[in-house]
């Protein structure tokens, strides 16, 4: 880990956002992860995304479980709310936080161990419940914190550092999320911020459950020849399917792309999601096609990246439950405890 503190001084010409803050105001403490860890790039992408959107840092709830990935919320948005939960139980905490205060932007960061092994049940159910949050999995296919055992997302045949191949089929979290109701599903690569930052922005602003599976190489235990989650392998086998740009409401929309490859999706808050496709026939609003494409590419040893599926009008958990628009933590006693008469009314309905 690094002992040198990051100097507070910044580039004198660093852009200032609408809140008068620079990117540096969205950082956290210096990472204690291994030098070169992909997760640090994901944190940097979150910092850049939030700064560019001019979102107030204190309006964030960041939650995580256990593992290298789950340490990362310390490394971004140091002025926000945070909870580092029990292994695999981040979804429960995120659900509670979101129910209590629906006005916070909720970012969950988890890993392949945290979400695909110990927490796979929790993962499945938070997807089903459509919690309005951005759920990022820093996916490196290995248990880095316990020195490099295969994780549940490690591809069959991919080898360990000592050359031993993995014997089991991988769990594909993207396919799972598509299957059980996520309304925003993307995959990206930690080494490709030009794709990742806009995806994080779109995911944050998406209403409903937004899932991004980020292939994030483990430099210490899974960045060798034979690994399918190394920097070199991912760079050599990536197929960028759909790029997404988030365009805030009122911002000028310019057209600089071949029509047919370009698709604008209106978001409920008035903003626009601009999708740039590589394949004209691919429809990122067709869930079944998305699933098929992901499976086909996986079979061919390719990693499809980009915004694979989006349903901008999907209902989130609050819509499903019909909760009031005011956050729970802002409701006063008279609303939360309407008195004996109201209780009578409820009881009467049940008689």
């Amino acid at each position: 880990m690094t002992f040198v503190a990051k100097p507070r001084v910044r580039h004198p010409l660093l852009p200032v956002n609408e809140l008068g803050l620079t990117r540096r105001d969205y950082e956290g403490s210096v990472s204690t992860l291994c030098a070169g860890c992909g997760h640090d790039s994901v944190s940097a992408a979150i910092v850049q995304a939030c700064a560019e959107l001019s979102l107030p840092p204190h309006k964030f709830a960041k939650v995580s479980g256990i593992g290298c990935s789950s340490k990362t919320p310390s490394y971004f948005l140091s002025h926000s709310h945070g909870f580092n939960s029990v292994h695999g139980r981040m979804p429960s905490v995120a659900t509670g936080a979101n129910l209590a205060n629906r006005e916070l932007y909720c970012i969950g960061v988890s890993g392949d161990g945290d979400s695909a092994s110990i927490g796979i049940g929790q993962f499945a159910h938070i997807v089903r419940r459509r919690i309005n949050m951005l759920y990022i999995v820093d996916n490196n296919g290995t248990y880095g914190l316990t020195k490099g055992q295969f994780s549940a997302t490690n591809d069959k045949g991919s080898t360990s550092k000592r050359g031993v191949p993995n014997l089991y089929e991988p769990i594909d979290l993207v396919s799972m999320a598509l299957q059980i109701g996520a309304s925003f599903v993307a995959r990206s690569f930690s080494g490709d911020k030009r794709q990742l930052v806009p995806l994080i922005q779109a995911g944050l602003m998406h209403k409903g459950f937004a899932f991004i599976d980020v292939i994030s190489p483990c430099v210490a235990f899974n960045n060798h020849n034979g690994s399918t989650k190394s920097y070199d392998y991912v760079r050599g086998h990536t197929e960028r399917l759909v790029s997404a740009d988030y365009i805030a409401a009122g911002e000028e929309i310019t057209v600089d792309y071949e029509s047919g490859m370009l698709e604008d999706v209106a978001m409920p808050d008035g903003s626009t999601l601009r999708l740039r496709k590589v394949d004209e026939d691919y429809d990122p609003r067709d869930r079944v096609q998305a699933l098929t494409q992901v499976q086909r590419s996986a079979e061919a040893g390719e990693v499809v990246t980009g915004l694979l599926y989006v349903d901008a009008d999907a209902a989130d958990c609050h819509d499903v439950l019909g909760t009031p628009a005011t956050p729970l933590n802002a409701l006063d006693d008279s609303v939360l405890c309407p008195g004996a008469e109201a209780l009578e009314g409820v009881n009467a309905q049940l008689r």
Binding site: T2, P12, G36, C37, S190
Partner: protein
Amino acid sequence: MKATDIADPNYFHKVVDCQWACPAHTPVPDYIRLIAEERFTEAYMLNWDSNVFPGILGRTCDRPCEPACRRVRTEEKPVAICRLKRVAADHKGDISDYLPRVPKKKNGKRICLMGAGPASLAVARDLLPFGYEIDMFDRDPAGGGMMRSQIPAFRLPADVLEEEVDLILNMGVNAQFGYEITSMKEMLDMDYDAYFVGTGAPRGRDLDLPGRQEVDDHISIGIDWLSSVAFGHTSSISGKVIVMGGGNTAMDCCRTSKRLGAERVTVVVRSAFDVMKASEWEKEDAMSEGIPIINNRPPKEFLHDNGKLTGIVFECVRPIPDGRGRYRYEPSGEPDVVMECDHVLMAIGQENHCPWVERTVGIEFDKWDCPILDEDTLQSSHPKVFFGGDSALGPENIIWASAHAHKAAISIHLMCQGKDILRDRPPEGVNLISQKMGVHQWSYDAEHDDSKRFLVPHANKRKALDNIKIEVELGFDARLGLKEAQRCLNCDVQTVFTESLCIECDACVDICPMDCITFTNNAEEGELRTLLTAPAQNDEQDIYVSEELPTGRVMAKDEDVCLHCGLCAERCPTNAWDMQKSVIHTPQLGSYASG
């Protein structure tokens, strides 16, 4: 852009802004680190090696290094480089073991040095260890030249001056003081193997205005007056004094007058305040001593009452910026002003002036009466005669004299050894030495210190104004010196990039506090500068570009505001980044020394 050639000594030298800006190329960060380690003697010797007069320069240098300091660009105020030099001088121990040995047996070559100022002294220092016999001639009764005659004691105490001047004289110079040179031909007839002219710029400019001749008794030329004060011929000045001029000599004149009993002292300058030649701190010190500086007032006429000066008439002008940092002046429309005065000190510039060099001896002069010299060798059109310091290129600072002296000494040595004085000069060079000591250990203090520039303590003002010998600036003590030293960014510890090791993981990009590093597609410099993470608008600072990486991109680093904090190297998993100290070899005669 083409990949940067870091083997070019100038590339990393330029990154060390202070060293690059210093005419003598003093290795500033290196000596500042030594001060931080309380190794004052070594810090002093590092300075002595390159600029010859650390104690003197630590008080009087014009500090070209400070405006160049990177800290001006990253934060606000530069490291107090000059005052740290003084810390080294003030706290040094015995230096005798570090001094070069001068052979008893001479090499048979005799060199004549004209003038005993900084340029000649530095040439003597460079040549003596090689066995040259050095004869030095000066009209003043003691050595030091303008350092002694023009810099008042409240800025440069006599003991500091004498220590560094005597150090060189005692290395074996045959000095003849009180020797007024009147003829170059006579000197050439003495048949030395080489001549070095370091006679400075001893003629102060005068101003031919109406009334000038009539009031001659009440007007002194600034440098001559300072010199007569320095040698004790003048010890008082009375009445109202006007100092004309805006350079450091003017500041010395006004502050000296104040100390010698003037009733009122005023500085009047023809031009605007911010383009005055005087150093910022000299102006501040004068003003803090209660001396008004009045700008935009060109003089018109001296008023007198039967030969007794009564005042000066000044015109009022207004500066109009010309858009290139300069001004032109036009009448402001205000009526002319008359300022009463009893005495005028004229400090409006000086000239190098060699009336004693006959124009028939083979030394050619240009239309400004400056000797025509080869820029690299400082050789005049007479092959045996070299010039340096103010007498070479006009009035400059002491630090230039040291720089010229090193050049001239190399030329003289090569000539005496029968070599080509241009082709056989020692080359510039650079060594790169990794500073990595362990996994997270660097042999320099990488951590950034965001302290503001520390103020230097001053002597009690009333006491200082009473006595010309009381030094005004007290200098940093060791504790403050250490604190100020910590502000240095160690710009000589370079970020060195090795393409073949890079896995393009972006760790360096993410950690860099100044957003210096970008991985991008290559382009021509103009375009590349726009592709970087943070704007690279300072064209004077280079972009460090790597060879093409496996993804087809290049690493491009804007050197402009890099803090040299080492975080890129710290966070690099493959050591593609390393922090390496660049040791710049500036040619000096010592480069030839063996053993």
